[in-house]
């Protein structure tokens, strides 16, 4: 009962856009009295959401030239430890004036580089060195 690539593609195309829409609604709807209004500040002023999003983007679409910079066993230790440290320390910025201007952007960009260097996708079409 293996999941073929076609099946996984169909499932991903069905669920992915809906998840993106839901996240956008939750993140961006700062209507008066809205339940998620405080959540928006947490997202903009800290790395709690921006870092994982950056990691995934770097993981999926990072340039191949960055993937061999760090040896394999070490990269996962750095990845997990660094992610916990970055997300945890960024909570210190919560409530700091001006933090929402730059913290999440910096975390997104740094996370994308980290994802490309430390967590590259094993590309099946190039595993054999093609």
């Amino acid at each position: 009962m293996a999941m073929t690539r076609a099946t996984m593609t169909t499932i991903g195309l069905a669920l992915g856009p809906l998840l993106l829409l839901l996240l956008d609604v939750i993140v961006t709807q700062t209507i008066p009295g809205g339940v998620f209004n405080d959540f928006f500040e947490l997202l903009r002023a800290t790395a709690v959401a921006a870092w994982p999003v950056g990691l995934l983007i770097g993981h999926w679409y990072g340039p191949r030239s960055l993937t061999r910079l760090v040896p394999s066993p070490l990269r996962y230790i750095i990845l997990i430890g660094g992610s916990l440290a970055v997300m945890g320390l960024s909570l210190l910025f919560l409530g700091t004036p001006g933090a929402s201007d730059i913290v999440s952007t910096a975390a997104l960009c740094t996370g994308a580089v980290a994802g490309a260097v430390l967590w590259p996708v094993q590309d099946p079409s190039r595993r054999d060195g093609q």
């Binding site: 293996a2 996984m8 983007i57 994308a112 094993q122």
Partner: protein, 154 residues
């Protein structure tokens, strides 16, 4: 060419359900977010989808089929068409843009974004056909900048 399996046929049928769910979210989002129950419903649905995608990815990662995890499909798909990396870049730029007031075009920015999206999707396709593929990371960076400048939240 893979032969369609029973699971694939089921997945095509199931694929229509999220379209209805997406329409419902779009129509009722403002109403749902004003009550804690409605907000919990949306957040719960998002959590269910995240868990479902992870749970579905686990067997794909350990089975004998090559390149069928979501990550591998996203990476390969990014080389074949720009829509997904471009869209992810736009949303990331929209959510995590630096500074407020970057959207100098205001409401017109959305129209410009649609036009830019069309140009990027068609342009990268033509590049792939006649010159060479545009790297996915470059498309993501373009989407990030476009999302931050033309459709920032807040």
């Amino acid at each position: 060419m893979e032969r369609p399996t029973r699971w694939h046929r089921v997945s095509i049928l199931v694929a229509f359900l999220p379209v209805a769910a997406a329409a419902a979210v779009g129509v009722f989002a403002d109403f749902l977010l004003q009550s804690s129950g409605g907000a919990a419903l949306l957040a719960g649905l998002a959590c269910v989808l995240v868990v479902a995608l992870i749970v579905l990815d686990v067997p794909a990662a350990i089975d004998a089929v090559e390149g069928n995890t979501f990550s591998e499909l996203l990476r390969q798909g990014g080389r074949q068409m720009a829509v997904i990396p471009w869209t992810l870049g736009i949303f990331a730029g929209r959510w995590f843009h630096p500074f407020d007031g970057l959207d100098v075009l205001g409401a017109d920015g959305k129209v410009v974004l649609l036009a830019v999206t069309f140009v990027v999707v068609v342009g990268t396709h033509l590049c792939r056909q006649y010159i060479r593929p545009v790297p996915s990371w470059l498309i993501v960076v373009g989407g990030l900048i476009s999302g931050a400048l033309l459709w920032p939240v807040g």
